[in-house]
């Protein structure tokens, strides 16, 4: 007995929202990066679940690419966080707010 696909969706929505919640409430850049990872993985849950739902492997393959891209993104992200720290002596994303309006 397979689990109904709606529940995968619900799970992924929950993961997505948790990641988003982290982004919205926390100001630490690294937490931000981690939260983004959560959100990307929420998508992966969907992809894998619906790969099974439709009986094709497309979703699974794509989820692999998503992971790879997540890694690349974090690489750049960490680089930016580094220079952020050097310039602002902090990794609080809300501190870097000199440009506005």
């Amino acid at each position: 007995m397979a689990i109904l696909s709606e529940f995968y969706l619900l799970l992924s929505a929950a993961v997505f929202s948790i990641g988003l919640y982290g982004i919205l409430t926390r100001s630490n850049a690294l937490v931000f990066l981690m939260s983004v990872e959560l959100m990307l993985n929420a998508a992966n849950i969907n992809l894998v679940a619906f790969s099974f739902h439709y009986g094709n492997v497309t979703g699974q393959v794509f989820s692999l690419f998503t992971m790879a891209l997540a890694a690349a993104e974090v690489a750049i992200g960490i680089g930016i966080v580094l220079v952020l720290y050097r310039n602002f002596e902090d990794i609080d994303v809300t501190k870097a707010a000199t440009m506005r309006w």
């Binding site: 994303v93 870097a96 000199t98 506005r100 309006w101």
Partner: protein, 688 residues
């Protein structure tokens, strides 16, 4: 036929050339441009006389002339064609002579009044005179209403230029402005009338043009429309009854007449216009600008004769103005002011005559008035030269002995003005009153009553006219000199005396062309002017035809009454006026009896507060209105424009605050908009 008619345009063109020459070359001429003007007006006079003789049939068979010469604008199908053309008939031929004669004399007189006094800017002066004469002459021979209007306006321009000749002083430019503005106000109605006439009839011709196909004149078309149906005559009456519509048009045109001929209530500019050089005043009052209005009514009399209402209005305006202006003339202290009011008054008589069906009388009075009023102004100019440009009569006195030529010619003019037999004014004024009386008596209904009212006012005015005229004469020339200047006036030269003499003789004799009472009494046919105007090559501009029209359409008919008794009445009144003046002012040391008038004097001195009223209209109504409009424009109309921009920019400056600089806030906003979009487009299923 290369006859005199081919040269008629030159009557106006010669003074125009003089204008050009004086303007550009006057600086280099010994008399600063006067030469050109004198030669040109002399030429015009000669041509005019020749024309008159031709029309009279003295050089050949009596003819008239009416042709379009020049297409100003051709509108093509469905639109009227606007032409310039020349109409020479007895009326215009006579007027041409009068105008060119006066213009010539004024030019000569100006040598004495302007050149000898060492005025500067003379080329401008003579250029103005030239243009003035040219415009008036062209106006006189215009064969259609539009052309007439155009030169009518040019006359107004010239009056502006000449009244404001001494522009460095404060008063003349103001007077010039007033003259133009007030007449412009009248011309506004005139212009509507012109447009209306063309729109109604498709033509503005005063008289039909004979040619390959005859072009009908608008009075004829109006006559046809009244007689038959408007559609048949091809007349568009804009949904009105033809009679009503023609009355409206006539009254609109009359607006211009009232303005230019200084009739009540648009007469206020004329006394102010005395700020101009005196020869200019002579020209304006005698032959050009002011005469233009009355001439216009005479010119299109065939149209007015169709409308009893218009006639009654003309007569009433005329009669009232005659009396009204005469009363104001009684209290004036300046020589020229008195003359100014007398002009208004006299033109009122002409209007009265026209309104009362006395076409010939009006033309007669126009003629005699041209002569004696020009004389009086030039005489006044002579006095002013003598008095070193002092115009107040109370500073004069006793000039009779020191300047006899001026005195006797002036006296001749005054007698004419006062209407003392046998001077010119008597005959013409008498006829005006006579015509008003007989038509008032002879016409049925309201028009008859109204004409009688006009007559009554005119009759009363006779007394006042004689009174103020001789008050003026006595104060100026009789008694003891009241100032040193009056004791030792500056002598005047031939160029002043010459024109005075010519006109002085004229003022005494010109009335003989139409001595109706004498003709009546003696039974001899010496009413030459009647004959002159009664017949003509162009039948629709003859008094015969006008008489028919008056009878048929306006219901104006003469009563059977001899001219002698009414003439005697007015003569008695005139003599009474002279006598009163004699009694009061022909004393060595006259007093200002006007003080006895009390409050009435104040009212009269202020010209019944009409100036004040008109100034109030301009500065008390129009200017505040304009200011209010300006405030509205700046505040509301422009305010909305600027407001939109301010609101946008303010909105922008608030709007950009969304970009708070904190990336977490961005994320929140992004999330919220995502939620919003989802709610609208997914949960609710779209906008609609």
């Amino acid at each position: 036929m290369a006859g005199v008619y081919d040269f008629v345009p030159a009557v106006a063109l010669l003074p125009f050339l003089a204008f050009v020459v004086s303007l550009f070359a006057g600086e280099y001429m010994p008399k600063r441009g006067a030469e050109a003007g004198i030669i040109a007006t002399a030429g015009s006079l000669a041509l005019s006389v020749w024309t008159l003789l031709t029309v009279a049939g003295i050089t050949g068979p009596a003819t008239s002339f009416n042709e379009n010469l020049y297409t100003w604008v051709a509108g093509g199908e469905g639109a009227v064609t606007l032409n310039f053309g020349i109409l020479v008939d007895p009326l215009s031929a006579l007027m041409l002579v009068i105008v060119s004669l006066i213009a010539f004399l004024v030019h000569v007189f100006s040598l004495g009044y302007m050149n000898d006094e060492g005025e500067t800017g003379l080329p401008r002066y003579y250029a103005g005179l030239g243009l003035f004469s040219a415009s008036m002459l062209a106006f006189v021979f215009s064969n259609n209403l539009l052309m007439a209007f155009m030169f009518f306006e040019l006359v107004g321009l010239c009056s502006y230029l000449l009244i404001g000749f001494w522009f460095r002083e404060a008063a003349p430019p103001s007077a010039a402005k007033k003259a133009f503005l007030v007449t412009r106000f009248g011309d506004y109605f005139f212009l509507i009338g012109v447009v209306g006439v063309f729109a109604t009839f498709g033509t503005g011709l005063f008289a039909p043009v004979e040619g390959a196909e005859t072009l009908a004149s608008f009075p004829e078309l109006a006559e046809e429309a009244l007689a038959g149906s408007a559609e048949e005559a091809g007349v568009n009456t804009f949904g009105y009854d033809p009679g009503t519509w023609f009355t409206i048009l006539g009254l609109l045109v009359l607006g211009g007449v009232v303005g230019k001929s200084a009739q009540f209530p648009l007469h206020t500019w004329l006394p102010d216009a005395m700020e101009g050089p005196t020869p200019v005043s002579a020209l304006i009052h005698a032959a050009t600008m002011v005469a233009a209005g009355v001439y216009l009514v005479a010119r299109m009399y065939g149209f007015y004769a169709l409308s009893p209402t218009a006639l009654a209005v003309i007569a009433l305006i005329g009669g009232f103005t005659a009396l009204f202006a005469a009363t104001m003339g009684v209290v004036k202290q300046e020589l020229k002011q008195v003359l100014a009011y007398s002009t208004i008054s006299q033109y009122g008589y002409m209007m009265l005559a026209l309104g009362a069906g006395g076409y010939t009388a009006a033309v007669f009075h126009l003629t005699t008035h041209a002569v004696f009023k020009a004389l009086l102004f030039l005489g006044a100019g002579s006095v002013i030269i003598a008095m070193h440009h002092e115009e107040n009569m109370w500073t004069m006195g006793g000039l009779r002995d020191r300047m006899p030529v001026t005195y006797y010619t002036f006296l001749s003019g005054s007698l004419a003005l006062a209407g003392i037999v046998p001077f010119a004014g008597f005959w013409s004024k008498d006829e005006v009153l006579f015509e008003a009386l007989i038509h008032g008596l002879g016409s049925e209904g309201a028009i008859g009553t109204l004409l009688l009212v006009g007559y009554a006012m005119g009759l009363v005015a006779v007394f006042f006219t004689a009174f103020y005229t001789f008050r003026m004469v006595f104060l100026t020339f009789h008694g003891e000199p009241r100032t040193d200047t009056a004791r030792d006036p500056e002598p005047v030269r031939w160029n002043v005396k010459g024109p005075l003499t010519v006109l002085g003789i004229g003022a005494a004799t010109v009335g003989f062309i139409n001595m109706v009472p004498v003709a009546e009494v003696t039974g001899r046919e010496i009413d030459y002017l009647h004959k002159w105007l009664a017949h003509g090559d162009i039948s629709v501009t003859t008094t015969e035809h006008y008489g028919e029209l008056l009878h048929t359409f306006a219901g104006v008919d003469p009563a059977e009454l001899g001219p002698v008794a009414p003439g005697a009445v007015s003569l008695v009144l005139a003599l009474a006026g002279v006598g009163a003046a004699w009694k009061l002012y022909n004393v060595p040391d006259p007093e200002e009896h006007t003080d006895k008038l009390g409050g009435a004097k104040t009212v009269l001195m202020h010209n019944y507060y009409l100036d004040e009223f008109q100034v109030w209209l301009a500065t008390g109504v129009t200017v505040p209105l304009a200011r209010a409009a300006d405030k509205f424009d700046q505040g509301v109309v422009d305010g909305v424009v600027n407001g939109i921009s301010s609101v946008s920019l303010f909105g922008g400056s608030r709007f950009r605050r969304i970009q708070s600089g904190v990336v977490t806030n961005y994320a929140t906003l992004m999330t919220l908009s995502l939620v919003l979009l989802l709610v609208v487009f997914v949960v609710a299923g779209g906008v609609v």
